[in-house]
């Protein structure tokens, strides 16, 4: 075990890193727009950007206001009952008190694996959803740790942040797509600019940018998971609870059947990757579970 990690520092570090990553994404977008507009018509830069922004914001606003409903419906969650899920409701109430947030709506979804997610655009519209397996397999401290992690996503506005990331990725993809398609049609009258270098850079960027942006968004997602672990520990004052829950998750082997309960699109929302990929890499939405456990144990 190396030196103790203060959860306050940990939260601040993670926020800074997320901010840096988000800035990189914006830079990618602006850079891409710049190169494309240089290729066509430099004065079109702003028009071009505005166009990409409007389309992708419109698209995302719809999902933003319905994110919670879509997610809940896609995992077939139902509202927790005050008689059947006393322990769960009490844990959520406790964490709401500890975090100073309003009590979110509480849902339970059918699945035997231990998992949970939070959604909703701000703390007033937040929902927390846990699997039946979570309720059956975790004790009170572990459950509270998991709920605290989800409350931190709500408190840190992670859902809003991830939506923002989705908007930017959307804009980048649309800009790239428009550019690549237009090349197809305009290849005949190539005499207008003849800016070969910009065209080459443009093509490379247009192909790479969406991929790059997606990778950055996964990196942000991993940072936000660490941040939620840290502020979750602040709420329970008991990092060992979440650490022990994560250990239980680690030793679970999800049945093939169970994976059907988790649509791919909602996977990044969950406390741990429902598909349990073996290795953490650039394409992982969640950090390595062992890293998370060891960080929690050092707090």
């Amino acid at each position: 075990m190396s030196e103790r990690v203060s959860f306050h520092d940990e939260i601040r570090n993670n926020k800074l890193k997320s901010l840096a990553l988000a800035s990189i994404m914006i830079l990618i977008l602006v850079g891409l727009g710049y190169v494309i507009s240089q290729f066509y018509e430099p004065s079109l830069f702003f028009t071009f950007m505005i166009f990409a922004i409007i389309i992708s914001i419109g698209y995302t606003l719809i999902s933003y206001y319905n994110a919670d409903k879509i997610a809940l419906a896609s995992v077939k969650a139902s509202l927790a009952s005050s008689t059947q899920h006393r322990q769960l409701i009490s844990s959520v109430e406790n964490m709401a008190l500890a975090s100073g947030l309003p009590i979110p709506k509480i849902y339970v979804m059918p699945s035997s694996q231990i998992n949970a997610f939070a959604s909703g655009r701000d703390p007033k519209h937040a929902v927390i959803c846990v699997t039946e397996g979570t309720l059956a397999k975790l004790n009170k401290q572990e459950l509270e740790g998991v709920i605290a992690h989800e409350m931190s996503h709500i408190a840190n506005y992670d859902i809003r942040f991830m939506t923002f990331t989705a908007v930017v990725i959307g804009m980048i993809s649309i800009a790239s797509e428009l550019f690549l398609r237009s090349l197809w049609f305009s290849s005949n009258d190539r005499d207008k600019k003849g800016n070969g270098i910009f065209m080459l850079i443009g093509i490379v960027l247009a192909i790479l940018a969406p991929l790059l942006a997606t990778l950055v968004s996964f990196a942000i997602s991993r940072k936000r998971e660490f941040a939620a672990d840290a502020s979750g520990a602040k709420f329970t004052r008991h990092p060992a609870g979440l650490a022990s829950a994560l250990k239980k998750i680690k030793h679970e082997h999800p049945s093939l059947n169970d994976k059907h309960n988790f649509p791919k699109a909602v996977a990044p929302l969950f406390i741990s990757d429902p598909f349990k990929k073996k290795f953490t890499n650039l394409f992982s939405t969640h950090p390595n579970i062992d890293d998370r456990i060891s960080k929690l144990e050092r707090m």
Partner: protein, 182 residues
């Protein structure tokens, strides 16, 4: 050119004044809000006590001392005006209740009473909520105090006449598990 720079600097200063005023007020309101949360939980606990005593009375005939202790602590809690005295009375009530639950182990009939068990669960759940709301009070006090004492917040704090606030302390005696004599 000079005018633009001067204007920008002035605007920046005005924004700083507004920002720090709002920040200090918001953080201070959060503390008040967390106080009322503690209050709510303490009140809930006090409201459950008469039911608990009613269900216990028939069984614990030899434990007059503890029962009076609970009754008195509840009265003290309901009569308390300041938050310090409320929290103090709340702690006393909590300890007296713990004694009752410890003593209830000696009464198998009582342990089998569903009403009693239900109240016991309810009260221990409230116990957690009291602890968490106190923790949030201290967390919000910490954020407020940090804002008041770090630079440049400290300049504005003294300007707006805002001072650091006290944490809710747990007295050394209360940290111990209450002693129960048989």
């Amino acid at each position: 050119m000079f005018g633009i720079i001067l204007g920008a600097v002035l605007a920046f200063i005005v924004i700083m004044f507004i920002y720090y005023y709002n920040r200090l007020v918001t953080l201070s309101n959060e503390i008040d809000n967390s106080l009322s949360q503690i209050d709510v939980q303490l009140k809930k606990r006090a409201d459950l006590v008469p039911n608990l005593l009613a269900s216990v009375k028939g069984y614990m005939t030899h434990e007059k001392g503890v029962i009076t202790e609970v009754t008195n602590a509840r009265k003290a809690l309901l009569g308390a005006k300041t938050i310090e005295s409320k929290v103090k009375a709340g702690n006393e009530l909590g300890n007296a209740l713990k004694s009752i639950f410890a003593l209830s182990e000696n009464y198998p009939d009582l342990k089998a009473n569903t009403n009693f068990l239900h109240l016991q669960q309810e009260l221990s759940a409230i116990e957690d909520k009291v602890a968490y709301s106190r923790q949030f009070y201290n967390d919000s006090t910490l954020s407020y105090n940090n804002a008041c004492t770090t630079f440049p917040g400290t300049l504005f704090a003294s300007l707006y006449n805002r001072h650091q606030k006290e944490f809710l302390k747990i007295a050394p005696a209360e940290r111990n598990v209450p002693k129960v004599s048989f």
